[in-house]
Subunit: 132 residues, 4 copies
C-alpha cells in the first residue's frame, strides 16, 4: 500500500531491485558497463561519500530533521545521499551480491548481536521514550 | 511478483521503506535514537565504507561477479555492503529525506545530464530507454 | 632545533621524507612492494579513514583538545591518525608525488584563494602573513 | 641536508610541524579557528578523501609512478593528496595529538606486529624479490 493514512506526505515505495534495474539500463544505454568494475564503483562511491560529508563539514552538530536548513540545501543533500545509494546498488550488482537480501540478513544478525534488554523495557517499550 | 520466471535464483524484493522501518524499530527497542543524530550516523557510515574498502584493498583489480572469491568472503562483503546501506537509510531518515524518492529523481537528473547518444547505440539499445 | 623554549612538552620534528623512507624500508624488508599499487594504497587509506571515523561516530560534538577523553582513547586516536598519514605518504610515493612540496604549494594556493581581510583583523593578525 | 647527491630531482624536506604551524597561522589570520572543531575537520578530510578517490575512480588499475598520466592530472593529484594531509595535520592539532610522534610510534608497533622473516631473507635481504 502506498497510501498514507490520514493525510500527510506520502512516502514513495522504492525497491532496491527497481534501482538496480534502472542503473543497469542506464549503464547499458551509454555503454558504460565497461567502466563498472567493482573497484571503480567502490571508488566512485567513496567520492560520493566525500561530497555528502562536505555538506555537513562546517556545520557543527546538526539537529534531526535539519530544522534550520534551507530547502535547496535539503535538495542537494537528497542528491548526494542518492548518489551514494546508486553506486552502492551498482557495486553490489557488480559483485553479484543481492543487496536487499543481504541487508535483511544483516538486520537479523544485528538483532542477535544486540538483544533488546527486556527488563529495561518491560511493557511494550513504554519507557523507551522517557529519556529520549 | 517475487517469483523469477524460468527458474534461476530468485531475488528478494526489498524496499527502502522496509529497511527504514526495521531500522527505526531496532533503534527504538534499544533506546538508541538518542545516538542517531545526522553527523553521528554519517560518521558511522564512513566507518562502514572503510570496512568495505578493506575487503578490496590488497586485491588489485577485481573481476565482475568476483569469480575467484571464496563463499565466506562474499558473505562478509554482503555484510559490509549492508552496513553501508543501513546507515545510509538511517541517515536519510534522520535528515527527513525520502531516500527512495530522491534516488528516483536523481536517476532522472542523470538521464538528462548524460543523454544517450542515439547514433552510437541505435539498434541494440533502442528499447532500453522506454522504461528509463 | 627540537628544544621547546621555556619548558612544556617538546614536540618531535618529523619530516614527511623520514616517514616515506621508513615506509619504503618497511615494505622492502617484507617484500610488500608488490602490494603497494596506487589504488591498493588508496583503498587501504580509506579503510583507515573509516577506523578513524569510528572513534568519533557516537560522540556527538567533541571539544578541541578532547578534554573528556581517556588517555587510552587518545592513544588509539593517535594510532588511527598515523595509519591514515602513513598510507597517504606511501600512496604519494607510489604515484611519484612529492607530498611535502605539493602541500607547501597547496598552502600558497589556498592563501591566494582565501585572502586575509585586512580590515577585519588589522592589528592582531598583521604579522601572521609574513611567514605564510 | 636538502641537497640530493649526484644530481636528480631534489626532494624538499617538509616537517609535519611546519605544516601544522602554517595551518594554524592560516586559520588564525582568517578567524577560522571557530570552525576547526575535531568533527568538522574530520568531515572536511573525508570530503578531500572523496575528491582524491574521484581522480582514480574510472581508471581501472593504475601503474606505480603513473606513467600514462598527463602532467596536469598529476598536479591535480598532488593538490588532493595535500588537502587530505593538511586536514589530517589540522585534525591532529585540534585533538592535541602530536602526529609526527604518533606516526613514529606506530611504525615501531607495525614492525613488532609484522616482523621480518629472517630465514627468508638471510643475507642482507638479497632474496627479497622471491615470492613471499
Amino acid at each position: 500500500m502506498k497510501r498514507a493514512e490520514g493525510g500527510g506526505e506520502q512516502k514513495e515505495v522504492v525497491s532496491l531491485e527497481t534501482l538496480s534495474k534502472k542503473m543497469d539500463d542506464f549503464a547499458k544505454a551509454r555503454d558504460w558497463e565497461k567502466f563498472h568494475s567493482p573497484r571503480n564503483l567502490l571508488l566512485a562511491m567513496v567520492g560520493e561519500v566525500g561530497e555528502l560529508s562536505e555538506i555537513f563539514q562546517w556545520k557543527g552538530e546538526v539537529a534531526r530533521g535539519l530544522p534550520d536548513w534551507k530547502e535547496e540545501e535539503k535538495v542537494h543533500l537528497g542528491e548526494e545521499l542518492s548518489d551514494v545509494l546508486l553506486y552502492l546498488v551498482r557495486l553490489s550488482d557488480a559483485c553479484g551480491v543481492d543487496l536487499g537480501k543481504a541487508a535483511l540478513r544483516k538486520l537479523e544478525l544485528n538483532a542477535i548481536k544486540y538483544p533488546v534488554k527486556q527488563t529495561d523495557h518491560s511493557s511494550s517499550n513504554i519507557n523507551l521514550k522517557e529519556e529520549n
